[in-house]
């Protein structure tokens, strides 16, 4: 979540789905919300019924477009051109919210003299190291921020490190000191740098490179920006249509900049709603099964760097001001939750038992290691990379290099059966009689057969109760992990030795219950919430955490979910505008975060119509429709005393309490690996070179991971003249493991199809319903032609560009089968979060079925 995380402080949607109904305009881009999040889309419709303008920007006309007031198609991969065009429009037409921008953002902050923009350096920011293909971000810091000694700690921006944590490089600690020019006239203030940076993103430029006619663009720009101000707000919704690009994080950054300029963050009917595709994908980042972070966005230590010593780790990630000033309380409490009594001050709370990361250990990073025979074992839990991950041929064939594979799921997924009925076996790439891999396929419990909490798209934890036991030998994940852990701890106890010290200390004495001996899930949630180690008294909030070992807490941002000894995720008594009393939103049940922004600096609402929280001068506390995302008794006129630290060092007008300067970051000085501002780069495969910087066509920090089993087209490539985009349907879920075996859903969407325009169909002599093949350098798939005006050719730079769209749900198992569309994609990595590019690549389309020799050979 670094797009939102670096801009605002927390890596989660800033608002709640219900809040969309209060918007005066809703911009949906990078999402077909009506199809992928249909029940959440109700609130967009409610907004429309109240008079809001709904804008949908998407290459394809979808059911979302059908319900919108305006739909504009744009060329896949040109999102930052359009959003940059909107930012420029706001600046040049004085549509920005002056008082909000001056007080609540870093627009006034002055930057260093040695910073150089992409406009100065032909496509890279200052600090670019061509050899390492990485940035040293020192010149992005604020003027006056002290440099670290010799810049020696900037390692986290190396190519291996991840970007989920709040501050990979540790620079944020330096950002509490800065100079500001509130007239916004200083040539090096963020506002002026931003203006110059986006100067070339004119309506004409948008028309030429997005394919959006100038008058359409101006109409949309006017509609969205005029729906913002003291008595109006606009919201932005996005999904993987933004994230799955080689510039994914920077696309979201563009939206963050736009919303900060318009004063739409932390206000009712405003915000940025990240729409997530899985029941707990937000939860699985907050409490991560990810390589580069620990729960609550604490960084995983890196070998030899912040992992060298506990003291160094803590000092690098502690800021003087804002909530990260208490970093030591978060990490010590986590280590106490992990290692219990084994974590002591003398052994640095067991910090040295934590493994150190020393490379790219993300999905794609380690999958390539697997393909090269460097891994022995793999656990796959409720995910189906054999269908859902890019370059499916590589994904599946790499599994054959393992010694053992454990899959846990409700059905036999394509991942579990790669060795027997995959297309790779049929093609002869894999021979079952030669595959040494042992495969264990465990039956999993469904959601109604176990209890636990999901965190939904709006940071809301909702508990689901257990109705019945799972059937046969099916078991819940807690059962599996608990009983496996028990066995391994027993071995560790007998074996001893340095490598088993952590495993021996690991606190694992969960109560078990029921005839299947499930561990107590409530007890796990209590551990996540946090308790006093002396008497197991449950904590009410993260401010109670201590760094002296007297508290344990599994995820500081979730602290409060068990406040008062009550499981608040299970609460079902909604009241008020945001349904408080139903579930628990992190942090501290705040539903619209940064909501201090909904009041003026003096604490009064910007307008009655847009009141959310405000200062009650009599009671001397914040009050309103939501829990204030602010210290409840910190007055608007509070001025931090000299030498104050933490939250006390932030003034009464500083709404972004995670940031050391307390404001929203139009400019991201620390935490991103591909620049402090978004810049347009072409997709990794594109029919065009970058019109802004012909010498820097693609995001220089992105990784193509090109190799014989992961080849690319050139840009442009006469063999692959069309643009390909992939997407999902309402009736199936991602890789289909939870839908293709259900007759009701299989019947609704039985077959793979490819959407193409009538113009392209004529050119290629394809009729609606014909078989066609789609080919990329990775693979060929066959599909039925869906000839439709929902996709239409775009005029880009005077040239007609055709694109086609494929939904990706099918595979070789289930009631309905079809070719694996993700076989067409390349494995690639966006620099910050290592996401692949699925929304814009190159392909060829031909009539007819997949046949002899049509497929690219497998190396």
């Amino acid at each position: 979540m670094p797009g939102l995380g670096t801009s605002f402080g927390r890596g989660g949607a800033t608002t709640a789905q219900q809040d969309l109904q209060y918007a005066d305009a809703v911009l949906i881009m990078g999402s077909s919300m009506a199809e992928q999040h249909p029940i959440g889309f109700r609130f967009v419709i409610k907004a429309r019924e109240r008079g809001a303008t709904i804008i949908h920007v998407d290459p394809r006309f979808t059911r979302t477009s059908a319900m919108a007031d305006v739909w504009i198609p744009l060329r896949p991969g040109s999102d930052i051109v359009l959003l940059g065009g909107l930012i420029r429009y706001v600046l040049e037409n004085d549509r920005w919210f002056h008082d909000y921008v001056v007080h609540y953002t870093n627009a006034a902050t002055i930057l260093r003299e040695d910073f150089k923009d992409t406009e100065d350096l032909d496509g890279v920011f200052s600090g670019w190291n061509e050899e390492q293909k990485a940035y040293a971000p020192d010149t992005w810091l604020y003027e006056g921020a002290p440099m670290s000694p010799a810049g020696s700690e900037r390692h986290h921006h190396s190519k291996e490190s991840g970007g989920h944590a709040k501050d990979r490089g540790g620079e944020a600690g330096q950002l509490g000191q800065f100079e500001r020019d509130e007239t916004l006239q200083h040539p090096r203030c963020v506002f002026q740098v931003l203006r110059r940076h986006f100067q070339r993103y004119t309506p004409e430029f948008v028309e030429r490179w997005c394919g959006v006619p100038k008058d359409q663009f101006l109409r949309v720009a006017d509609a969205f920006t005029s729906a913002s101000g003291p008595d109006k707000t606009g919201a932005i919704c996005y999904a993987v249509g933004w994230t799955q690009h080689s510039t994914g994080v920077q696309i979201i950054r563009s939206a963050a900049i736009l919303q900060l300029l318009l004063g739409n963050i932390g206000r009712p009917g405003g915000g940025i709603l990240a729409l997530r595709g899985h029941a707990s994908i937000q939860g699985s980042t907050d409490i991560p099964t990810l390589y580069d972070i620990l729960p609550g966005y604490l960084p995983m230590p890196f070998a030899g760097k912040d992992g060298a010593a506990f003291e160094k780790y803590v000092s690098m990630h502690t800021t003087k001001k804002g909530l990260w000033a208490s970093f030591d309380t978060y990490i010590v409490s986590l280590l106490k939750a992990y290692y219990g009594d084994g974590a002591t001050k003398e052994n640095d709370w067991g910090f040295n038992w934590l493994p150190r990361v020393n490379g790219d250990h993300s999905h794609f990073g380690y999958w390539l290691e697997m393909a090269d025979g460097k891994l022995e074992g793999l656990f796959v839990m409720g995910q189906n990379p054999g269908v859902g991950a890019p370059n499916g041929r590589l994904q599946r064939t790499a599994l054959a290099k393992l010694k053992w594979l454990v899959v846990r799921d409700l059905v036999e997924t394509e991942t579990a059966s790669f060795w027997r009925d995959s297309p790779d076996v049929q093609r002869g790439d894999l021979d079952p009689s030669e595959i040494e891999t042992e495969v264990f396929l465990f039956p999993a419990a469904g959601h109604a057969e176990k209890k636990g909490s999901f965190t939904n798209t709006q940071r809301l934890l909702q508990w689901h109760e257990k109705a019945v036991d799972p059937p046969g030998d099916a078991r819940s994940e807690p059962w599996f992990i608990y009983h496996l852990g028990r066995r391994l701890k027993e071995r560790a106890r007998l074996a001893g030795g340095r490598c088993n010290e952590g495993l021996n200390a690991l606190w694992w004495d969960y109560r078990t219950e029921g005839k299947q001996r499930d561990p107590s899930v409530e007890q796990v949630l209590q551990e996540i919430n946090g308790w006093r180690t002396t008497d197991r008294h449950l904590l009410d909030t993260y401010t109670e955490l201590k760094a002296d070992g007297s508290t344990a807490c599994g995820a500081w941002i979730y602290s409060g979910v068990y406040a008062g000894g009550i499981n608040r995720a299970a609460k079902r008594e909604p009241h008020g505008r945001y349904g408080h009393g139903w579930g628990f939103a992190w942090p501290s049940d705040r539903r619209v975060i940064y909501n201090r922004c909904s009041a003026r600096p003096d604490g009064r609402p910007w307008s009655n119509r847009k009141a959310l929280v405000w200062w009650d001068a009599e009671k001397r506390e914040w009050t309103g429709h939501d829990v204030a995302d602010f210290k409840n008794d910190k007055a608007p006129d509070y001025v931090p005393p000299d030498g104050a630290t933490g939250d006390a060092a932030l003034s009464g007008t500083a709404p972004f309490i995670l940031h050391p300067d307390g404001v929203g970051w139009i400019w991201v000085a620390s935490g991103l690996k591909d620049g402090p501002l978004p810049t347009h780069y072409e997709p990794l495969e594109s029919p065009f070179t970058n019109p802004l910087y012909p010498g820097r066509s693609v995001n220089p920090a992105a990784k193509k991971l090109e190799r014989p089993d992961n080849p690319y087209a050139s840009s442009p490539d006469s063999r692959f003249p069309y643009v390909l985009t992939t997407y999902r349907l309402t009736e199936h879920h991602t890789a289909g493991g939870m839908t293709r075996t259900l007759s009701h859903l299989a019947e609704l969407q039985p077959e793979l199809f490819c959407e193409l325009s009538p113009q392209l169909a004529v050119e290629l002599a394809i009729r609606h319903g014909d078989w066609i093949t789609v080919t990329t350098p990775r693979a060929t798939v066959e599909a039925r032609a869906m000839v439709t005006e929902r996709v239409r050719p775009l005029m880009i730079d005077g040239q007609q560009v055709h694109y086609v769209g494929l939904p990706y749900h099918w595979g070789f198992r289930g009631l309905v089968k079809g070719d694996v569309v993700n076989d067409l994609l390349a494995i690639s990595e966006e620099p910050n979060v290592r996401i692949m590019e699925t929304k814009a690549l190159l392909c060829n389309v031909r009539p007819g079925r997949r046949g002899d020799g049509a497929e690219p050979p497998w190396p």
């Binding site: 029940i39 959440g40 979201i252 997530r276 029941a279 994908i281 937000q282 939860g283 699985s284 099964t289 620990l294 729960p295 070998a303 038992w353 493994p355 150190r356 990361v357 020393n358 250990h361 793999l378 656990f379 796959v380 409720g382 990379p385 010694k403 053992w404 036999e412 060795w419 042992e438 264990f440 396929l441 465990f442 959601h447 939904n456 798209t457 689901h464 109760e465 109705a467 019945v468 036991d469 030998d473 099916a474 994940e477 807690p478 391994l488 701890k489 071995r491 490598c499 952590g502 690991l506 796990v524 079902r572 139903w582 199936h732 991602t734 939870m738 007759s743 009631l815 966006e830 979060v833």
Partner: protein
């Protein structure tokens, strides 16, 4: 006699009473005795397992079996609504392809064999232990590593918070695995 036979014929009753054919006149003796399948069932409050919207679900169950899954009208997010996927979630838990036994595939085998759950757990524990012993590195290039580099994990976005917590705790804090990843990116 004829009257009694006619009386059982819904069309007759409809014509006789001038009724629209949507009420009791259209019912047979059997259908008159039928009630909703949810009647008398216990309710577990649940959340839809598909996308991130987080719609509320009511799981009706009786005698250890689920009888129906419906939208929860009290949810402030979904107010009783479900999309096609959520509405099909009863079937997600009850369909012929659903796994209920552990399947095992031996090296170079051409097919699956079913094995007992406890034995499968022992076998997995043994594999994990052996791989960890082979691939654990305490230090490298003079730096502390404490890393088990031979085992990886994938998945989490469909799992509960408590499940992700326990996986990260055992895998990373316990075993020293760093190659842990899931669907979540941004």
């Amino acid at each position: 006699m004829l009257g009694k036979i006619l009386e059982r014929w819904p069309v007759y009753r409809q014509l006789r009473d001038g009724a629209p054919g949507t009420g009791r006149e259209a019912m047979s003796r059997r259908t008159l005795t039928l009630g909703p399948k949810n009647n008398g069932a216990e309710i577990a409050r649940s959340i839809c397992p598909y996308c991130g919207v987080g719609c509320g679900q009511l799981v009706f169950h009786r005698g250890g079996r689920i009888v129906n899954i419906e939208g929860d009208p009290e949810s402030p997010i979904s107010e009783g609504h479900l999309c096609p996927k959520g509405a099909a979630s009863y079937q997600l838990l009850h369909h012929p392809e659903r796994l209920t036994r552990v399947k095992y595939r031996a090296p170079r085998a051409q097919g699956w064999t079913e094995i007992p759950l406890e034995r499968a757990m022992d076998m997995v524990a043994e594999r994990v232990w052996a791989t960890r012993e082979r691939t654990f590195i305490e230090e490298q290039d003079g730096h502390l590593l404490m890393q088990c580099h031979g085992i990886a994990h994938l998945g989490g976005a469909t799992l509960d918070n408590e499940e992700n917590y326990l996986y990260k705790k055992l895998w990373t804090a316990g075993l020293g695995m760093t190659r842990v990843s899931n669907q979540a990116r941004i």
